[in-house]
């Protein structure tokens, strides 16, 4: 019996959280994070003599909310999406960035918010397999044209981006998309447009799915993350990517509220967004920098012809504000539409 109790105590202790821990930075994982570890994280740790650990997550900030509420903050610096950042900032999930440590003027327009410093850009655009279909749709209007471009299409499962695409396909100019989508008629128009393509549509959930489908020929044309497309093309896959169909946004570095390493975290963000380290990173991996000096550097642009920031002037910047205001409503309607 006594041994039982001792074992119980030991196990409960093992289940209890560890107290002291290293500065922890969290991002989406994959090969990019491997490169970041080597080029960004480790030099910072060496230079400032701060032990640093990195972890990965699936861009679901639920656990971050929980750790803030539980006052058991185990992450310090996290790469987050814009709407999560904005909402998390309003709800006090993230610290405000200390702009005395991180120079705010180094970022592209829209590259900062109260709680976030621009990390990397990402976007989606139409792509297809050039061997199977040498001529593919170059605009969303053509994407909807099943006469000229027969075959199945794949869009992302969710209202965000999909509804913008539906309006763009219907001839709404890029600058007008969010104004139109904010009106009931605009919303009806977007869903009606989706209805018209529905028999030819599939919806993907994971970012790899559209590439698998296009690769196997299950789908002729799809929208997919441009970063993945660029990597596949660099690896020699015969994909065509239509930059005129780009919808893009930025991910941001943020500091979890209540982090015991707040000051070190701010310094880390300053390092992660500084010019020199990012140039280094761009040499080993195609990134879409939000730091203006790197993004606009002709040498970097020339060295990375598939860099998204080369094409942002042709794309639509996904509106964080719009989706915070209409996300719940439209996502629900989208789900209802999918369910019909």
């Amino acid at each position: 019996m006594r041994r039982w109790i001792a074992g119980l105590v030991a196990l409960l202790l093992a289940a209890a959280p560890a107290a002291a821990r290293d500065l922890t930075v969290v991002a989406g994982g994959g090969p990019l994070q491997d490169h970041m570890r080597r080029v960004l994280f480790e030099p910072f740790a060496r230079a400032h003599n701060i032990p640093l650990r990195d972890a990965t997550y699936d861009y679901n900030i639920g656990p971050i909310r929980a750790m803030v509420q539980a006052r058991n903050v185990t992450w310090d610096v996290v790469m987050v999406e814009a709407p999560d950042l904005r909402q998390g900032c309003e709800d006090g999930i993230f610290e405000r960035i200390d702009w005395t440590v991180v120079p705010r003027e180094r970022f592209l327009p829209g590259g900062t918010t109260d709680c976030g410093a621009g990390a990397l850009g990402w976007g989606i655009a139409v792509f297809f397999d050039e061997r199977r279909t040498p001529q593919g749709p170059a605009t969303y209007a053509e994407f909807w044209d099943v006469q000229r471009f027969p075959g199945r299409r794949a869009l992302r499962m969710g209202a965000r981006m999909t509804l913008e695409i539906a309006l763009l396909s219907d001839g709404v100019p890029a600058a007008e998309v969010y104004r139109v989508l904010a009106t009931p008629e605009g919303q009806r128009r977007a869903f009606a447009r989706l209805d018209s393509l529905r028999p030819h549509l599939m919806f993907w959930r994971g970012g790899q799915q559209p590439f698998d489908w296009v690769g196997s020929g299950e789908v002729a044309y799809a929208v997919g993350f441009v970063g993945r497309a660029a990597n596949a093309m660099r690896a020699g896959q015969p994909l065509a990517l239509r930059w005129d169909t780009l919808l893009y946004a930025y991910d941001y570095w943020a500091v979890v509220r209540g982090s015991p390493h707040r000051d070190a975290a701010m310094r880390l963000i300053a390092h992660l967004t500084a010019e020199e380290p990012l140039r280094e990173l761009a040499r080993v991996w195609p990134i879409n920098p939000v730091t203006a000096a790197v993004a606009r550097d002709p040498a970097i642009r020339a060295a990375n012809p598939l860099m998204m920031t080369n094409f942002t002037d042709r794309g639509v910047h996904i509106s964080t504000e719009f989706w915070l205001d209409h996300g719940t409503d439209l996502e629900q309607r989208f789900t209802a539409w999918l369910n019909r």
Binding site: E90, D91, D325
Partner: protein, 390 residues
């Protein structure tokens, strides 16, 4: 005896505390969340007090505007505005933007708040918006429960159906019931021959046969669902086998279909139907079918007049168990189902993590719980002894 009673109570107490603190209270609290409406009165207490006293006609008194501007500004500064913005935006999309804009302008609204608020956004001059705020001043709201059955409070105060393109939950509940019923029926039908065959075997052989049922029963649901996920792939073994046998020419899309969900759910839940049916059939007096035969009953009459009615309690208990589990199912539809195969549970999960809306999560939970509770009570009424152990 008294001392014994106290000692017994002390033995039970730790577990009782655990169950109350870590189950009963949380469940109760969550059900309360389904109707609780604390955001406005927490974030804007003075505004809420004025609104509660207001009779709802025309515009509220001047002080409501003043409190609103001041408290919104303070909430934004303290970063407490999120929950309220979300709550109001859920009821009427667009209110989040209005609140934020108003809160940011709070500094300029100190003088003549009423005029300046209306100047900032004409909606502040509309009685409808103020009535909406008043109804959100708590302490309870039917908002989430109504929305969970595709209803809402209209601007005039009455209950109305939501727009057709937003209606989703009634279909969802019907679909959940339908899938659960279908899975239950299939489980019962498939379980019967297994249980009957095992019960007809001699005890030793039956014990081995039972192990064949217990192996899947003990195997993790995730492992089993993963197995189905792999089997049903486009390039997966099932399609490959069907093509090799010449049944189909091109691989079928199986993942993301109702077929996949039902097949995997039946697979996961079948042991729950087999085990009670077997237990009852095993206990069945073998003399009874013999008696029926001696009284002139042929095989068919023996099955329908004796075997079936006598094994019914076990079959029905298994069926009830399958139904109760199936109604709340989450993993299997999430992994092998498509958007048209999701059940209530996946929407609860959606509102818990993807789009946090605890009121909706709680309202859907409340309805789901009511559904399972009704099913359990029905099973209890139909089957004396259900839920009680022999």
């Amino acid at each position: 005896m008294r001392r014994g009673g106290i000692a017994a109570f002390l033995l039970v107490l730790p577990l009782l505390l655990l169950l109350v603190l870590s189950f009963a209270l949380p469940v109760g609290r969550m059900l309360w969340t389904a109707v609780a409406d604390p955001e406005l009165s927490d974030t804007l207490p003075d505004t809420a007090a004025v609104l509660r006293a207001w009779n709802g006609e025309g515009l509220p008194p001047e002080e409501a505007f003043a409190h609103l501007a001041r408290e919104l500004g303070a909430a934004l500064a303290d970063r407490r505005l999120g929950p309220l913005a979300q709550r109001l935006n859920f009821e009427q999309p667009g209110l989040r933007a209005l609140l934020l804009r108003t809160a940011r302008a709070a500094g300029e609204l100190r003088e003549a708040p009423r005029e300046r608020l209306i100047a900032l956004d004409p909606r502040w001059g509309e009685a409808e918006l103020w009535r909406l705020l008043r109804s959100a001043a708590g302490p309870v709201t039917a908002l989430y429960l109504l929305r969970a059955v595709d209803l809402r409070l209209g601007p005039a105060g009455g209950i109305e159906a939501v727009a057709e393109e937003e209606a989703i939950y009634r279909t969802l509940f019907l679909r959940t019931l339908w899938i659960a019923a279908l899975v239950t029926a299939l489980c019962v039908v498939l379980a019967y021959p297994v249980a009957a065959a095992l019960a007809a075997l001699p005890q030793r052989l039956a014990a081995w046969g039972l192990v064949l049922v217990l192996v899947p029963f003990w195997t993790s649901v995730l492992v089993r669902t993963t197995a189905w996920f792999v089997l049903l792939q486009r390039e997966g073994p099932l399609n490959a086998a069907a093509i090799a046998l010449g049944l189909i020419e091109h691989p079928l899309q199986l993942i993301g279909t109702r077929f996949a969900v039902v097949a995997a759910m039946v697979h996961v839940l079948l042991p729950f139907a087999i085990l009670p049916a077997y237990a009852v059939m095993r206990r069945l007096d073998p003399a009874l079918p013999r008696a029926a035969a001696s009284l002139g009953a042929g095989a068919v009459a023996r099955f329908f007049r004796v075997h079936l009615p006598l094994s019914f309690p076990g079959v029905a208990a298994g069926g009830a168990m399958v139904f109760l589990l199936a109604v709340g199912y989450y993993i299997t539809p999430a992994l092998v189902g498509g958007p048209r195969d999701q059940m209530v549970a996946s929407f609860i999960a959606f509102f818990l993590s993807q789009t946090p809306n605890w009121g909706m999560a709680a309202a859907l939970s409340l309805l789901l719980l009511a559904m399972t509770g009704a099913a359990a009570l029905a099973a209890r009424a139909l089957l004396p002894g259900f839920g009680r152990r022999e």
